[in-house]
């Protein structure tokens, strides 16, 4: 049985009214950015861009974890898959992302043991059943995913599993918002739709330093059409009245403090470190690396994997797309050489990527 409110948050009647209201008050030409892959998908699926007045441009920022994973991290994953006694476990989206010379999918076709899992607990189970093998989980994701992986490391520790490892390529979102605001003047962003499920964990509190620094309108948004439109309306109101706020448009799931239990577990296992974001470069303290206490679970250390210098695929405009500087049709490879079944860049691989969403829902 579905919850009653879900149906209502999809009610076209309410959506239409919110759109009317947006049209009534929106005067200034503005650029709003969402930084959540699930928002990107929902915005396209529900045709939200086409409902908005011409004054509003919606940009998709670096909210898809697979899309911001750096090429040298993908290469490191592929290196790991070459060890004979290793079983790689991963969420499905990573499989097709091309590294410099191969992809996990190619490695699997070449006989490497690479398995897709639904949860890190599946990876623990694989480790338990294969004591003679080393099971490596590829940790990619933001604050929503990182606590789940931290919990699996704590569980492995309790179970005395000595053949389970995590390569942590996790990222935390707020530092990337600073980078977006610091990029060139022509990328000016007038307001942010903040990600619903990252916010479930970090709370609206997590964005306070960012908001206080830039005083840019920010609204945490849910995923149903009414949620997204309402958040856009809140942003437009803030912009038109000149009163920026850090507001919560997803109160049924997000609190000011966030999920403290998840935060504690994440902090117990990981500490922040500089991280390389595809397209955005190195962002200080935007990554999560495994703490010393859990070094025995850190695949990067245990397998002594060096992150090489690698370049993003030639001609791929993913970086500019993540910054809101370009849209996919402006990439010369879009639809010509790069398509979901034959992706060149990560924005086309992940179902949450902007290029994949355009490809699926845009008829250009």
């Amino acid at each position: 049985m579905t919850l009653k409110h879900i149906q209502e948050y999809r009610d076209p009647g309410i959506s239409r009214k919110i759109v009317e209201r947006i049209k009534e008050i929106s005067q200034k030409q503005i650029r709003l950015m969402e930084v959540c892959g699930t928002h990107t998908t929902s915005i396209f699926r529900n045709g939200i861009r086409s409902l908005l007045p011409e004054t509003i441009s919606l940009l998709s920022g670096p909210g898809c974890p697979v899309c911001v994973t750096a090429q040298n991290e993908i290469d490191a994953f592929i290196e790991l898959s070459k060890f004979d006694d290793v079983i790689i476990t991963t969420f499905g989206d990573l499989m097709r992302v091309p590294g410099t010379h191969s992809s996990l999918q190619n490695q699997r076709a070449n006989g490497r043991d690479i398995r897709m899992v639904y949860s890190t607990f599946d990876a623990l189970e694989i480790a338990r059943k294969n004591p003679e093998k080393k099971v490596v989980f590829l940790g990619v994701g933001f604050e929503t995913t990182a606590p789940t992986i931290a919990a699996s490391i704590i569980t492995a520790n309790k179970m005395n599993l000595d053949n389970f490892f995590v390569f942590s390529a996790h990222k935390v979102l707020p530092p990337a918002l600073f980078t977006l605001m610091e990029s060139r003047e022509d990328t000016k962003i007038d307001g942010f739709l903040l990600p619903g499920h990252v916010s479930v964990i970090i709370g609206t509190k997590g964005y306070q330093p960012f908001f206080e620094t830039y005083q840019v309108p920010c609204v945490v948004a849910g995923f149903e059409p009414v949620d997204i439109l309402q958040a856009i309306l809140m942003l437009v109101e803030q912009i038109e009245t000149g009163k920026p706020k850090l507001a919560n448009g997803y109160q049924r799931a997000v609190t000011f403090d966030g999920n403290r239990k998840a935060q504690t577990i994440m902090q117990e296992v990981f500490e922040t470190a500089d991280a390389n974001w595809r397209g955005l470069g190195i962002i200080p303290l935007s990554g999560l690396k495994t703490r010393k206490e859990f070094a025995a679970f850190d695949a990067q250390q245990v397998f002594d994997i060096e992150l090489g210098e690698t370049e993003d695929p030639k001609g791929c405009a993913c970086g500019e797309i993540l910054l809101g500087l370009k849209t996919p049709p402006e990439c010369p490879l879009y639809k010509r050489k790069c398509a979901p079944l034959q992706p060149i860049g990560p924005c086309m691989v992940s179902s949450e990527g902007t290029c994949a969403a355009y490809h699926r829902y845009h008829d250009i």
Binding site: H197, V200, E352
Partner: protein, 81 residues
Amino acid sequence: MCLAIPSKIVKIENNVATIDVDGVRRQASLLLIESPKIGDYVIVHAGFAINKINEEDAMESLKLIREAASLIFDKPKKGDG
């Protein structure tokens, strides 16, 4: 990667819940949330419940959104077509 639809906890065993989303049953770890109960609605991400959904809050917010939306239609429309 996110399942944005809340799932209902129908069974709890060893801190693992059986959850129900529109009739589909799955398992979800309860390690990341405080005092889960049978009947709670939770958001599940990658096999973990990451929070509870407050149905009352959901309906209350909707009421406010509705009120705000209907207000504008009570006002005379601007004549700019």
